[in-house]
Symmetry: C2
Subunit: 246 residues, 2 copies
Amino acid sequence: MSKMYVVGIGPGGYEYMTIKAANVLKEVDVIVGYTVYIDLVKDQFPDKEFLSTPMRKEVDRCRLAFEEAAKGKNVAMICSGDAGVYGMSGLMLTIGAEEFPDIPVEIVSGVTATLSGASVLGAPLIHDFAVISLSDLLTPWEVIVKRIEAAAESDMAICFYNPSSKKRHDYLQKACDIILKHRSPENVCGTVENIGREGESFKVYTLKELRDTQVDMFTTVFVGNSKTQVINGRMVTPRGYRGVED
Amino acid sequence: MSKMYVVGIGPGGYEYMTIKAANVLKEVDVIVGYTVYIDLVKDQFPDKEFLSTPMRKEVDRCRLAFEEAAKGKNVAMICSGDAGVYGMSGLMLTIGAEEFPDIPVEIVSGVTATLSGASVLGAPLIHDFAVISLSDLLTPWEVIVKRIEAAAESDMAICFYNPSSKKRHDYLQKACDIILKHRSPENVCGTVENIGREGESFKVYTLKELRDTQVDMFTTVFVGNSKTQVINGRMVTPRGYRGVED
């Protein structure tokens, strides 16, 4: 019987994929994904059939993938990062269960921007952290505010996805203002652009500086906890609250 | 000049490693790590020199790695999962900067248990989430409580690391009691054991059931948000608060 895989391909470059993800993509007949992700893997798997739908047509993209599997083909739906973090694995399991219950779905993890971005910046997430998207496309802004507040007040490090867009150019500023109610303006922060792709770069800021910085949608933003330090130009969060040597 | 890598090897099996991690381990002269992690990679890289120190001797292990690099060897310090999530990358950057400033340190991301565990359970972390360790070895219990409270109240999904040990057999129960103040007893939860290794298994619970479940230290625990559903026996969190089709 045909099989459906939902595969996180990591931040971009082929080498950031897991060996399992690469093996699955080698094995399947069809690779389905958003156009930008297809472009990232096309050269490595030239003999595959590639199918895509535009951004925001996620439900159509899932159905397209299952329809191929229903024809007897093995199919991989690809996502950047990890398919389970703001990715397609939930929708694939839902649509699969409702409309294609006979096709088994296997999810193959990948390195999400939280992890790959952290490794570029240093070690901002060594201790407890929250992952929050600033996109209010599917989530009311009040819910997002409550989560930023919660993470700031309980001194978790924070990784922000979707920190900006044309319509939401001031959302990161708003988020920083909320955090500033609970943290020092000197709280260490950082941004990473184009993780694992050409033009990868990072920058370390204070929270106050980050507030007045304009980032684009290809940026992942990190806010350290109150103990995060700048060591040799990189963001480093200690393993706890009792000192490094404990 | 010699180089130091800090490498997350993922949940266990070789195929869950990134291609980059495997390439780095092939290239280096020495692999340093906690004994259990060395055992996971030994067979795949038989020609390497392996060095390890016991658990909790992390600072010694870092120095051991840098001392090898100082002899002119290329060295990889390995961690399970991702080196930046409760891993060694922070300590390596700190000790490196203080004691071995001439040795460059590169961090290579891996799939942490949050991601690999989620892929086994389904899609519990599709939306915002918090990652919290229940170990109070380096963190005061009051700080941990505050974070559980914050994540529960702001309706984030939660992934708990270190949910149990001999001394802390009732910590998960305490954590569930805190969450129950803000969430329904029916809130969907799940556990995964031996992720990516022999004996991998998962179980889905209600929050009330999880409260009365004893888990061991090889278990990763997931608490969904209030919208998380059980679909076809797996945990699925929607992409937002406006319905799947939005």
